[in-house]
């Protein structure tokens, strides 16, 4: 008995337990209520199925969550990522252009500039915007939420400016591959996420970056006293968040083959912050788990997908989503669990109380 309690404690104390538990609960729900949820088929050499769909659709959010995690770890927040997504799409789309030409009845692929140039330009612009946020926070010393609010508000205007107030539709089909293509039967977006995730994970664990970012988030004054270039790393975190939003923007733009300055990435900053929180990360900075945030993003996307799949009326989907999120947050809160389990324990005698309270 003792050993099981101990084991249970070790398992529940591990950082990833609650995010994974949340994911499991959502998936379990779907197992019972959504038809064919777990079925994966192979059509034309591609994997198809709801699960694949979730992972594919969650890709932009996972990228945002990765960037956001680092920003949050430095005790900051970046609420501009939704707007940055719009700008990223706008830059790429306006460089590729919305030209549709037919030669002899077949479509001729035309771009204003070569596609790689457009992609690089979009990523460069968004990284620069991230740097702008970083500059405001790290050098000028504006509070993160205010500093990034500027770009949140101005960003959509900038996107409109770039697209000259129009929704640009891209007919250049190779561009579609980024957001809707398949590689080895698996959505290409997955490889993008994996690449970004792997590179950043490597950097955080094989260099001192992870240690520095955590130290800064926990106590920036003491970090400065210890000789860490605090403002440099905060700056880098925002720049990276901008870059991630840029990649996410490209995926979204490519997936729908158009750049909509008004609606692309709308409110996604909120989902990204939520993903970080659901991943078991403290929004107060310090210790963080990238994998947790990625799982958090998957949880959010699973909820969204299953709400649609179970046929919840569209007008109340957001309410349902909010309720689910609240439940998950409560489940993850230590103090809430303590209260619940203490009650529960009291009914069953004081012996179990003393053990459960310390969970």
């Amino acid at each position: 008995m003792e050993i099981w309690i101990k084991l249970w404690r070790i398992v529940t104390n591990s950082r990833l337990f609650w995010p994974l538990a949340a994911l499991a609960v959502v998936l379990l729900f779907n197992f019972f209520y959504t038809k064919d949820f777990f079925v994966v088929e192979i059509k034309d050499g591609h994997f198809y199925g709801v699960l694949i769909d979730i992972v594919n659709r969650a890709a932009p959010l996972m990228l945002l969550a990765i960037g956001m995690t680092l920003v949050v770890a430095t005790k900051g927040i970046d609420i501009s990522v939704g707007s940055v997504i719009a700008i990223s799409g706008a830059v790429a789309a306006s460089l590729i252009g919305g030209n549709l030409e037919y030669v002899d009845g077949t479509q001729k692929l035309v771009t204003l500039v070569p596609m790689p140039v457009a992609i690089v330009a979009a990523l460069a612009v968004t990284t620069l915007l991230g740097m702008w946020n970083g500059l405001l926070v790290a050098r000028v010393g504006i509070q993160p939420i205010v500093a990034t609010l500027i770009l949140l508000v101005a960003g959509r205007g900038i996107a409109q400016l770039i697209t000259q107030g129009q929704i640009i539709t891209i007919y250049y089909t190779p561009f579609k591959f980024i957001g809707a293509g398949y590689l080895a039967g698996v959505p290409f977006t997955l490889f993008i996420v994996l690449l970004v995730f792997a590179v950043i994970l490597y950097l955080l664990n094989k260099t001192a970056l992870g240690l520095f970012i955590e130290a800064i988030g926990i106590n920036s004054v003491a970090s400065r006293f210890s000789g860490i270039h605090v403002s440099k790393y905060i700056f880098l975190a925002y720049a990276f968040s901008g870059f991630c939003a840029g990649v996410a923007g490209l995926i979204i733009c490519s997936n729908v083959s158009s750049a909509d300055g008004n609606n692309a990435g709308l409110f996604m900053e909120l989902d990204a912050i939520l993903a970080v929180a659901l991943g078991g990360n403290s929004l107060d900075g310090g210790k963080f788990s990238l994998l947790g945030s990625v799982i958090g993003a998957l949880v959010i996307q699973s909820i969204t997908t299953s709400i649609y799949a179970t046929g919840v009326p569209p007008e109340i989907t957001l309410v349902v989503k909010a309720i689910v999120v609240i439940c998950i947050c409560l489940m993850q809160s230590t103090s809430f669990r303590t209260i619940i389990f203490a009650r529960w324990g009291q009914k069953r005698g004081s012996v179990s109380e003393s053990t459960t309270v310390k969970l």
Partner: protein
């Protein structure tokens, strides 16, 4: 015999992997000043936290005036009549001094907070402690010592039956300590029971009636202060006999002579900043220990901060080994071989949610840069070595540093700087909150490092510590460097007179 005020019986407190307290009995009488003594990590602060509801009891009972009590939180303990100053000043740095004193019990006028009254009463209260400062300023503007005084003032103003002070004097100098003592003696006459933790043996004998000694979380005994000789007190705390610190002085004077011809490491000319510190000159030779002495707020810390690039200077220059440099940030300073062990370990020192290992390697890693990550195995070796060298009491190198006792956290920060192998080590109150045994060890270590060629700038509120360790003293008053003392002049009376300016 006075009646008992507070009794604790068979107190037990366990943390994962640590038995912080096992079956400790404690008794505090009305109208007595009772000292709680023990090495770093002996369990003093834990006992206080358990008594005041910060931590829950794992065993034992507490009685206040014969009534069984179970404090649930510090607020609850306060309502029961126990007023406490904890070891780490836990006030709100961005609130004003007056707000900090009255937070949670603000005087009101027609339902609204009466700010005038708050400020007036706060000023009066601090003047009683001989502290004349602007109470409307945010607390963070003031030094640790003043913050400590404010915390004490707050506790004193709460009318209580029991007053608990956990190392209240760790950053005060002699004069303020004297004031504090006269205040608590008065409270004692009014029948208050006072529990007092300190590592200063002299203070124990100056004020206390009885002493309770803890070692490794168990009770060693309770003694009348007058009947317990100092040597025995120390022996009981350490659990072994303790040779007085004596080797120091001799080696020190020898070094001073040898170094006269040696080259200068740091030369500061006309460095200053309006409002912070008047332009000053300073030289530190290789292998020399230079002390900065002066009263509270005389500018010792500011001087150190400026040299280390934490604060901007608006005049003057710094030369290191003859090369003229601009030191704009701590990172800059560290590259030049400087190190700075700050006085406020909670806000400027420890990264509380990181492990002991990570805290120890942090400055070295910062010096190496993010690319040259120290291999995990090497990190562990370093941590193990310094945990042993400074006898840091921890359940392991992966323990979070916030779970260490105050004195042991201080040692972690010291270790952090020692491993960067600095050429000039600036120590601001390095032995703050460190027990007698370890203090001597650390002083010895500093002297030994100086002998090996490291320069040291040493700041301490304990005059005799400065006198014992330093080759030269720079005296500051009101943010101006007023004198330098060397050789024969480093002697208590001369130094005191220079500081006081008579």
């Amino acid at each position: 015999m006075a009646e008992t005020m507070l009794i604790a019986k068979g107190i037990c407190k366990y943390f994962p992997g640590v038995k912080a307290l096992t079956g400790v009995d404690f008794e505090l009488k009305a109208g007595e000043i009772h000292c709680l003594m023990g090495e770093n990590g002996a369990g003093k602060s834990t006992l206080i936290k358990v008594l005041t509801g910060v931590e829950t009891l794992d065993g034992g009972e507490i009685f206040l005036e014969k009534r069984h009590i179970q404090p649930r939180s510090p607020q609850h303990a306060q309502q029961l009549g126990i007023s406490t100053v904890y070891q780490e000043v836990n006030l709100c740095p961005n609130l004003s001094v007056a707000e900090n004193i009255f937070i949670g019990r603000e005087p009101r006028k027609i339902g609204r907070i009466d700010w005038k009254e708050i400020n007036r009463r706060a000023t009066a209260l601090l003047i009683k402690m001989n502290l004349d400062i602007d109470v409307t300023q945010p607390l963070e503007r003031y030094s640790v010592a003043i913050q400590q005084m404010v915390a004490i003032a707050r506790a004193l103003d709460i009318s209580a039956k029991v007053l608990i002070l956990d190392e209240p004097t760790s950053s005060l100098d002699a004069k303020e300590v004297e004031h504090l003592f006269s205040v608590i003696r008065k409270l004692k006459e009014h029948g208050m029971g006072i529990l007092f933790v300190t590592h200063f043996i002299e203070q124990v004998y100056a004020v206390s009636d009885r002493i309770t000694i803890l070692r490794n979380g168990s009770l060693v005994g309770v003694y009348k202060t007058a009947e317990l000789p100092r040597v025995q007190l120390i022996a009981k705390m350490l659990g072994r006999t303790f040779e007085e610190f004596n080797a120091g002085i001799k080696t020190k004077t020898q070094i001073a002579e040898v170094n006269e011809q040696e080259c200068v490491f740091l030369q500061v000319r006309g460095l200053g900043s309006r409002g912070a510190i008047a332009p000053f000159d300073l030289t530190v030779q290789k292998g020399e220990i230079l002390g900065l002495v002066g009263l509270l707020g005389s500018g010792r810390t500011e001087t150190a901060r400026m040299i280390f690039g934490l604060d901007k200077s608006d005049s003057g220059e710094i030369r290191i080994e003859g090369k003229r440099l601009k030191i704009l940030s701590p990172a800059n300073a560290i590259k030049q071989g400087l190190a700075f062990c700050p006085e406020n370990r909670k806000t400027e020192g420890i990264i509380d949610n990181l492990s002991v290992r990570e805290n120890i390697i942090l400055a070295l890693q910062a010096k190496l840069g993010w690319r040259k990550y120290i291999a995990r195995k090497r990190q562990e070796e370093i941590a193990d070595k310094y945990i042993a060298l400074l006898s840091i009491k921890t359940s392991g190198k992966e323990q979070l540093v916030k779970n260490l006792s105050g004195g042991n956290q201080q040692k972690v920060i010291l270790a952090r700087w020692l491993i960067t192998q600095p050429k000039l080590l600036i120590l601001d109150e390095p032995t703050r909150g460190i027990d007698v045994g370890t203090k001597a060890e650390i002083q010895k270590l500093i002297l030994q490092l100086a002998e090996e060629g490291m320069s040291v700038i040493f700041i301490s509120s304990e005059l005799d510590e400065s006198i014992r360790c330093c080759d030269r003293l720079a005296v500051l008053r009101d943010r101006v460097k007023i004198a330098e003392l060397a050789g024969e002049e480093i002697e208590e009376k001369v130094v005191m007179q220079t500081i006081a300016g008579v």
